[in-house]
Symmetry: C2
Subunit: 341 residues, 2 copies
DNA sequence: CTGAAAGCGCTTACAG
DNA sequence: CTGAAAGCGCTTACAG
């Protein structure tokens, strides 16, 4: 591997000059610049990023901290991660992946080790010790999601707009008994996840604003649990004619369970699923109406805002993006339940 | 941030000694070791990984090169990536993600920049220029998949065992007309992907060994294309009673298309899908029999073999892992087509 | 516009 | 068992 010194020797200049042309950090006369450029090309020179990092105190690496939990592994995660890496590279950064298990000192090693210039944190909780650690360490970061004290830079789904649109859509079809099947389980630590709390709050607000009675059941994010959830919905709230479901895997099971209960979708029961995959709606038969999570946009915004902070281009923004409501072609009108029983 | 010098000063030793205890690279007397350890704890010292990398010429970072193609973004990719990161960290390495677009010089920057000690390459093609570049640059690597000249370290799915098991399973149920719906399209560059070629070859071999006639159609990896694929199968090969489908998204569409053609699954037609998700079989209704891709195992093996090479522990292995056949509960027996038409 | 030189925070022969 | 010192390949004030 050719070093900067090799290039300098060949071009007959100092390594400082080579550095200036490589980084475009100072004016260099046309002639010398050309000599240097030629020398670099001849030697196939690429600057050593480790040496640069040590000298400049910037690694140009950012970390993506995400939960290494199986049940959260959807297609959206891949889309998110891919876009995060692409956005980072577009700005000259690399992306390291930090699947976060429960070991508490992992953050310390990551931050104190000096490997990264900043951190993107996924699946933020309302009270998140990781955020406190980041603030305390003065590491630049951006959050995908929000804590309850909204003083930090974040990008998040706009749950109020999203669930209002979903409820509105169902109401327009004539539904009055709209249930929410959420991943939120009181017994789980996940119950603190911001997006679960906020989606439920937004659903309740939209329902109550219309004088409708919210009905929420918690349900694990599996097909199996979704089937079981269908039974519970129609047992506990038999008047239900529409269901909004937050977890995608549960949605498949819920759909199958609703059909198993003797209802036709969408003729008897309307369903809307939060969708992490771009065409998950199309995977089911019947096709589901979905709220499409803007994973790509969230990743791009999160990474860009992080790098803006690192490079001190801008103050950290707070952005909310609604999910897009993708309406299935054949949509249920609300029916009187007596028709079908 | 405390430096090694700070620790040395506080412990009253030289930085060399601190280095020896941090890295356990030379014998240090009990007393001094304790003084150093105490000083590190008091200062909250973590060694700077960038400085270590520059001095030791090892970054302890490995790259995961994967194709940034939307259509390949399944749950398996997430599982793979997560496991790769976890396996790397278990060995003291970090994982950087390199979604690979078509720019040819990206490999050069990655390798020549000195950021990584080695590379895991996904979605290997039969003739893969990236592999040639890696060999030429003397960068340690391991392949997920194989080129046609099998002289390199790799881990891959054992397609022969996997498709033999699938064909055997269907034959045991009495099927004789078993079609393969593959993602392989002659017009696409993807047609060179090792796993597409090898799965098709293995299917043909298993069919021919039984005196059965293989029937293959290519089909894009989308729900839409899967529906269309169902039509083509029963138009071009009306005797078909069983289908093996390589792409998961296509499988959903195919299932829906087969039902749309008036057949019942699994009563009239048996289906087996290559499954990247652990419970994709359970997502459909009816439940599908699946060949479950060992994404986690492939990732762990690939990363471990790469790090073994980097640390010169072992010669690079070549490993094949079959998919597990997960048989749906209610399975089709082959029927005479005349029953249902 | 260009260069000499200090310094980033470690590792690692080499001495003792 | 421990230390002094060179060196990893850059960046960046500081001079000129």
């Amino acid at each position: 591997m050719a070093t900067m010194q090799d290039v300098a020797d060949r071009a007959g200049v100092s390594i400082a000059t080579v550095s200036f042309v490589v980084n475009e950090t100072k004016k260099v006369s046309m002639k010398t610049r050309e000599r240097v450029t030629a020398a670099m090309a001849e030697l196939g020179y690429h600057r050593n990023v480790v040496a640069r990092a040590l000298a400049s105190q910037q690694t140009h690496i950012v970390a993506l901290l995400y939960p290494a939990l199986d049940h959260r592994n959807g297609p959206a995660t891949t889309a998110f991660v891919t876009q995060a890496a692409l956005s980072a590279r577009a700005r000259g950064y690399d992306l390291v992946l930090w699947p976060l298990s429960s070991e508490p000192d992992q953050m310390a090693r990551l931050i104190a080790g000096g490997l990264v210039d900043g951190v993107v944190l996924m699946d933020v909780r309302l009270h998140d010790a990781r955020v406190d650690a980041l603030v305390h360490s003065q590491t630049p970061f951006s959050l995908i999601g929000r804590t309850s004290d909204a003083g930090h830079p974040f990008v998040d789904i706009d749950f109020e707009i999203t669930l209002e649109a979903a409820v509105d859509h169902l109401c327009t079809l004539g539904h009055k008994h709209i249930a929410l099947v959420s991943e939120r389980l009181p017994s789980e630590p996940l119950s603190d996840l911001g997006y679960l709390v906020r989606s439920e709050d937004a659903y309740r607000a939209s329902m109550e604003a219309r004088g409708l009675t919210p009905f929420v059941i918690g349900c694990a994010g599996t097909t199996q649990a979704g089937r079981e959830g269908a039974r519970r919905v129609f047992h506990d709230a038999p008047a239900t004619t529409a269901v909004i479901v937050i977890n995608e895997n549960a949605a498949f099971g819920l759909l199958s369970g609703v059909v198993g209960e003797g209802y036709s979708v969408p003729r008897d029961v309307s369903m809307i699923s939060l969708s992490t995959s771009f065409d998950v709606g199309g995977l089911t038969d019947p096709v589901l109406t979905t709220m499409k999570v803007p994973a790509t946009e969230l990743a791009a915004l999160g990474v860009d805002s992080l790098i803006d902070q690192i490079e001190e281009h801008a103050t950290a923004p707070q952005a909310l993006i609604p999910c897009e409501l993708v309406i299935a072609e054949s949509t249920a009108q609300a029916h009187d339940r007596s028709q079908i029983s």
